[in-house]
């Protein structure tokens, strides 16, 4: 399941649809599991009337968590060395997100083979919602 350095090259890509038609209930599931109960993510009345947003929206960390699922499916379990992102656009209910990893480098560090990746998650309109990088140990 793990990637092999000898079979990777710069420019290789891997992508997955990580959610389809995001439901408010899934956002609530994330609030419950993560412990972030900010009403901006589950309380339509507060979010529209007090905070002034068009609707509740997903936790950035939910988008990052779904992006992380793509990464572990690609690089294997327990292989990530680093994963960092910027939240570049808000994700609203109904979103369909596709997460993509692109190989930017293959190197050795402290006797381990490492792949460096650019990470990008886009919504159904092609708007990037998560942008970042990751590194993982490969065989």
């Amino acid at each position: 399941m793990a990637l092999k350095a000898s079979e990777l090259k710069v420019g290789d890509t891997y992508e997955e649809e990580v959610c389809r038609n995001l439901s408010r209930t899934q956002i609530v599931m994330y609030a419950g599991a993560s412990g972030d109960y900010n009403p901006l993510h589950s309380d339509e009345i507060f979010t529209t009337q007090i905070a002034g947003y068009p609707s509740v929206f997903a936790h950035g960390m939910l988008s990052m968590g779904m992006t992380g699922k793509m990464l572990t499916n690609y690089v294997g379990d327990g292989r990530l060395k680093a994963f960092g992102v910027r939240f570049t656009s808000q994700v609203f209910p109904g979103a369909t997100l596709t997460a993509k990893a692109t190989v930017t480098g293959i190197r050795e560090e402290n006797g381990e083979k490492i792949v460096d990746l650019d990470v990008s998650t886009t919504n159904e309109e092609g708007v990037e919602v998560v942008k970042g990088t990751a590194s993982a140990r490969v065989d």
Partner: protein, 167 residues
Amino acid sequence: MAADKFPIEAGHIMMFARSVGDANNIYYDEDYAKTTEPGAIIAPPTFVQASAQFDPDYFLRPKIGQEWFGSAKGPTGITQRSGGGGGGGGGGGLHAEQHYVYHRTPTVGDVLTATTKPGKSWEKEGRRGGKLMFSESVTEYRDQKGELVVTATSVGVRTERPATAKE
């Protein structure tokens, strides 16, 4: 995020994996997990964020006997105006960036501690939200032996206006 004891528990990982839509059996089935390279149920990459559950003072969780700023009878449960507020408000702004460095993978049975220090802060003029005020915090997750497991750097942003306007 500060927690004296953040136990890495199988039931919590199952709920977290479901919430991010991750069907990988390593998060659900101990017998399967034993056959994998890590050899046990492990935490998904962003799981340490759930240490919020073990932070007694985490401000985005309603507390017993205290007012909560989300809606109740009215659109907010806060009856006394506490100043501030403003656009993008509600819960201390938005999450701008999150970075993890994994020294090893947290595994069921670990009991981590989380200690947070403030990092840099800076300002920027945004396209949608007006003036943006960024601040960084760095959380170290250490295991029962005191060894570093995950370093998490979070960047929060306060905006003058909601980052996405109502139609």
